[in-house]
C-alpha cells in the first residue's frame, strides 16, 4: 500500500503547476474565455508539446498509456489552475470514444491529430428532454443504402464553437429510452444540414445546441457497434466523471487554501476574521471535507488501475461526494470572502462556478446517489 506519486507523476504535476503559474495566469485565462472561440490554439499546442494530450491514449495508438493515477494528477493540477481548455471534451470524451471503440483502427489518424493538438472533437449526447439519462435519445439515424441520415437536436455540446468534428449519439433502433438501439456517428462539425445555436456556460465554456437536418453520414463513420454503443458510452462517461472529480479536488484545494489565507488578512472589529472560532471550525471542516474527497478519489483511481470489482461503485460514490463537498466548500469560500466572493473580478467566484458546473456534468449528486443506492442496495 502506497499513496505517493512516482517521480514521473510528480514531474507531470510540477509541469502543469509551472504552466498555470507562468503561462496561464488568471488574467490570460479570462481573455481566452472571453474570446469568441473560448479556447486558444496557442495554449492547446503547448498542451500537445508538453505531452499532456497523449496521456489518456494507449501507446499502441501513439499515446502515453497513462494510468488512472496519471490522469488524476493531470486533472487535479488543471483544477487547481482553473484550466478551461477543452481537455475533457476533446481528449477524454471524443478521443475516448474513438480510442476505446472496437473499430478504433479506423480512427488512428484522427487520434494522431488529437494528440498533436491539431484537431478538436466534441461529443453530442445530451438532448432537451434527456436531463441525466444518457440513453433518452430522440435524435434518429436512419439507414439509407450505405449511409445514415441524422435528424434531431443535441443540446449543450461542449466546445461546439471551436470543434472540428462531432461524435453524435443517435437512435438506430428501440424506443426513446432504451439502451439497445443507440449508435455513434462521426461527423464534421461543418457538414451540410448542421446548424448551431451557440451560447456560454457560467464556467466560461462555449457550448451550443446543434440541430441535424437530414445530415448524411457514411457507414464508415460509425464508431463502435451499431445499436450497441451504450456500453462504450457508459465506460467513457465514467472515466470522464473521474477526471472532472479529480479536477474538482484541485479546485477545492485552491478554494480552501485561498479562503484560509484571506481570513488571515481580512480584518473585522480590528482582528483578522480567521481568529473567530466559528470561522476557524468552518475552515477546519472545509479542510476535512477536502481530505475526504481526496481519499475517495484515491480509492477510485486505485480501483481502476487495479481492475477491482468496485470501480462502478466507487465512481458513483465519488461523483456524489464531490457534488456534496463541492457545494459546501464553494459556499463557505464565498461566504467567508464576504463581498469579495461575489465579484466577478476575484478568481474565487470563478472557481466556485466551475465546481457547480462539475456537479451537474454527467449527472448531479442527487442523480448519482440514487444510482449508487440502486447499485449497492438493489
Amino acid at each position: 500500500m502506497d499513496f505517493d506519486l512516482t517521480q514521473e507523476q510528480q514531474m507531470l504535476k510540477d509541469s502543469v503547476s509551472r504552466f498555470t503559474q507562468e503561462t496561464y495566469d488568471f488574467e490570460i485565462r479570462r481573455k481566452i474565455v472571453e474570446s469568441d472561440k473560448g479556447t486558444s490554439q496557442e495554449i492547446w499546442s503547448q498542451f500537445a508539446e508538453l505531452g499532456w494530450l497523449a496521456v489518456p491514449f494507449p501507446e499502441a495508438q501513439g499515446g502515453m498509456g497513462g494510468s488512472a493515477v496519471d490522469l488524476m494528477v493531470l486533472m487535479e493540477a488543471f483544477g487547481k489552475g482553473l484550466v478551461s481548455e477543452p481537455f475533457v471534451t476533446s481528449a477524454l470524451l471524443f478521443g475516448g470514444l474513438l480510442s476505446q471503440s472496437n473499430n478504433s483502427d479506423k480512427f488512428l489518424n484522427i487520434i494522431e491529430a488529437l494528440i498533436a493538438g491539431n484537431l478538436h472533437g466534441s461529443f453530442a449526447y445530451l438532448e432537451r428532454q434527456s436531463r441525466f439519462e444518457l440513453f433518452d435519445v430522440k435524435t434518429t439515424a436512419k439507414r439509407q443504402d450505405n449511409a445514415f441520415i441524422l435528424n434531431g437536436e443535441k443540446t449543450v455540446v461542449f466546445n461546439a464553437q471551436n470543434t472540428d468534428k462531432l461524435i453524435v449519439l443517435a437512435r438506430t433502433g428501440g424506443s426513446q429510452t432504451d439502451e439497445l438501439g443507440v449508435s455513434l456517428f462521426l461527423v464534421d462539425r461543418d457538414a451540410e444540414g448542421i446548424s448551431l445555436t451557440p451560447y456560454q456556460l457560467m464556467d466560461g465554456q462555449k457550448v451550443a445546441n446543434i440541430t441535424f437536418n437530414n445530415v448524411v453520414v457514411s457507414e464508415q463513420a460509425v464508431v463502435g457497434h451499431i445499436d450497441q454503443a451504450a456500453g462504450l458510452v457508459k465506460k467513457v462517461i465514467n472515466h470522464a466523471r473521474v477526471a472532472i472529480c479529480a479536477e474538482a479536488v484541485g479546485t477545492m484545494e485552491k478554494l480552501y487554501t485561498a479562503t484560509v489565507e484571506y481570513s488571515k488578512i481580512r480584518k473585522q472589529f480590528d482582528t483578522p476574521i480567521g481568529s473567530f472560532q466559528v470561522l476557524q471550525h468552518r475552515m477546519a471542516d472545509m479542510f476535512i471535507e477536502y481530505e475526504q474527497a481526496k481519499s475517495l478519489l484515491f480509492r477510485t483511481v486505485c480501483s481502476m488501475d487495479e481492475q477491482s470489482d468496485e470501480i462502478e461503485k466507487n465512481i458513483l460514490a465519488l461523483k456524489t461526494l464531490i457534488g456534496r463537498i463541492g457545494k459546501k466548500i464553494g459556499g463557505d469560500a464565498i461566504q467567508i470572502h464576504g463581498g469579495m466572493g461575489v465579484t466577478d473580478e476575484l478568481d474565487i467566484g470563478h472557481y466556485v462556478k466551475r465546481l457547480m458546473t462539475i456537479n451537474t456534468t454527467f449527472g448531479d449528486m442527487d442523480y448519482t446517489q440514487q444510482r449508487f443506492a440502486d447499485y449497492l442496495l438493489g
Binding site: 451560447y199 445546441n209 473585522q268 473567530f276 464565498i334 464576504g338 473580478e345 442527487d366
Partner: protein, 391 residues
C-alpha cells in the same frame, strides 16, 4: 390565540389583490427583468403606487403615508408579493426616509421627502468600505469642515444602484479624535457633485448592480448633515434594525409555488422531478421550514400590533429567512440541471431549451450574498447568544 382577519381587513386584502392584478402587468414584469429597461419600468411602477397613495406605508400620513395598521401593512406586503409584483426601491422610501423622519430637520423633510415619494430622485446607500463590512465602525471616509462646507474624501464599496442614483446617503468620519463610533456622521450627497466617481463591480452572476464610489475633495453643504455631527452611528443603527423586521416569507411562498410548478415539468428518465424521492425530500424540508417561519413572522407581527418589538425576533427572521432562500435557490439550480449554467446573451428560452435555467443561476449566485448583507448570520447568532441567552 387566533389568526383570523377582520371583515374590513379581508375587504382591504381584496382591494390590494385587485390593484396588483390590474397594475402589475406582464409587460411591466418583463421590462423590470431586463437590465436596459429596469430603471424606467421601476419608476413607472412606483409612480402607479404613488398615484394610488400606497407608496410609503411606513411614513406618517402628513408626509404621504397610508395610515395603515400593522395588519394592513402585512396584508399589502403579502398580496404584493403573492402577485409577483415588484417591491419599491428601498434606499429612499424605506431607509433614508426613516432617518430623515426621525432625525432630520423640517427643511430637510421639505427638501427631500416629496421627491422620494414621487420617485423623482433615486438614492443609494454609502455605508460599506473596503476595510469596513459588517463592522461599520471601522470606516475611514472623511468629511472635514472647510468654509461652511464638508470636504469628503474616501471610498465606498458594494453600493447597489449607485449608477442610477441622484443622491447618496453616507456615513462619514467627521472627527478623528472621538472614539471610533462617535466620530461618525450621516451626510447626504448629490451624486452630481464634482469629485465623485462611480466604478461598476460586476457580480459573480455576471450582472451589474454593485459599484464602488470614490470621493475626491467632494464639497457638501453643511445643511446636508442629518442631526448632530458624531451621531451618524446611532441613526444608522436604527435603520439597520428596520431592515430586518421581515423574513420575506411572502416572496418565498411564491418562489416555492414556482419551484413546484417547474419540478412538474422537468423530466428525468420519463418521470417528472416532482416524483423524484430525493427532490421531494429536499423540497418538503424547505416547505416545512417555511410554514414555521411564516408563523414566526406572524408572531413578530402580532407583537408589533401591540406596539412591541421587533427585538431579537429580527435575528431569527434574518437567519431562517436567508437560509430558506438559499435552500430554494439551490433547489432551483439543481432543478435546472445543465441549463442552470446558461449565460443566455441574446437568446430566448426557446433557443437554449429552458425557461428558468439562467434566472435560477443568477438568483443562486446573488443569493450567496444574502447571508452577508445587513449583518452576517454569524453576527446575528452572536446577537441572539448575547441578548436572548445572556451568554
Amino acid at each position: 390565540m387566533h389568526t383570523s382577519f377582520s371583515d374590513e381587513e379581508l375587504a382591504f386584502r381584496d382591494e390590494v389583490r385587485a390593484f396588483m392584478r390590474e397594475n402589475f402587468t406582464p409587460d411591466l414584469a418583463r421590462r423590470l427583468a431586463c437590465d436596459k429597461t429596469f430603471k424606467d419600468a421601476q419608476v413607472e411602477w412606483e409612480k402607479k403606487l404613488f398615484a394610488k397613495g400606497w407608496i410609503a406605508p411606513n411614513w406618517p400620513v402628513e408626509y404621504g403615508g397610508t395610515g395603515w395598521t400593522v395588519a394592513e401593512k402585512f396584508i399589502f406586503e403579502s398580496e404584493r408579493s403573492a402577485a409577483g409584483a415588484a417591491d419599491v426601491m428601498p434606499f429612499g422610501l424605506k431607509m433614508l426616509s426613516s432617518v430623515i423622519l426621525g432625525f432630520g430637520s423640517e427643511a430637510q423633510k421639505q427638501r427631500f421627502l416629496p421627491k422620494i415619494l414621487s420617485s423623482d430622485e433615486w438614492w443609494c446607500q454609502g455605508y460599506s468600505e473596503p476595510g469596513a463590512g459588517s463592522d461599520l465602525a471601522a470606516l475611514k471616509t472623511s468629511a472635514e469642515l472647510d468654509n461652511g462646507e464638508y470636504v469628503v474624501n474616501g471610498h465606498k464599496i458594494w453600493t447597489s444602484y449607485a449608477h442610477y442614483a441622484d443622491w447618496i446617503f453616507c456615513l462619514v468620519r467627521t472627527s478623528k479624535e472621538a472614539k471610533k463610533q462617535q466620530g461618525i456622521s450621516f451626510l447626504l450627497i448629490d451624486m452630481n457633485t464634482p469629485g465623485i466617481t462611480v466604478k461598476p463591480i460586476v457580480s459573480i452572476d455576471g450582472r451589474h448592480t454593485l459599484n464602488e464610489v470614490f470621493f475626491d475633495d467632494v464639497r457638501v453643504p453643511v445643511e446636508n448633515l442629518i442631526g448632530e455631527p458624531g451621531k451618524g452611528w446611532t441613526y444608522a443603527k436604527a435603520l439597520l434594525t428596520h431592515e430586518r423586521s421581515m423574513a420575506g416569507v411572502a416572496d418565498s411562498k411564491r418562489d416555492m409555488r414556482e419551484i413546484r410548478e417547474w419540478a412538474k415539468q422537468e423530466i428525468n428518465g420519463g418521470k417528472p422531478l416532482l416524483e423524484d424521492p430525493l427532490f421531494r425530500k429536499r423540497l418538503t424540508d424547505v416547505e416545512i421550514d417555511l410554514m414555521a417561519l411564516e408563523y414566526t413572522e406572524l408572531r413578530t407581527l402580532a407583537k408589533a400590533m401591540k406596539g412591541q418589538g421587533p427585538g431579537t425576533e429580527s435575528s431569527i427572521l434574518k437567519i431562517k429567512g436567508t437560509e430558506i432562500q438559499q435552500a430554494m435557490q439551490e433547489l432551483r439550480m439543481d432543478l435546472a440541471g445543465y441549463y442552470a449554467g446558461i449565460v443566455p446573451g441574446e437568446l430566448s428560452p426557446e433557443d437554449t431549451g429552458h425557461e428558468f435555467g439562467s434566472s435560477a443561476r443568477e438568483k443562486y449566485m446573488y443569493g450567496r450574498a444574502s447571508t452577508l448583507y445587513g449583518g452576517s448570520n454569524e453576527i446575528q447568532r452572536g446577537i441572539i447568544a448575547k441578548f436572548v441567552l445572556g451568554l
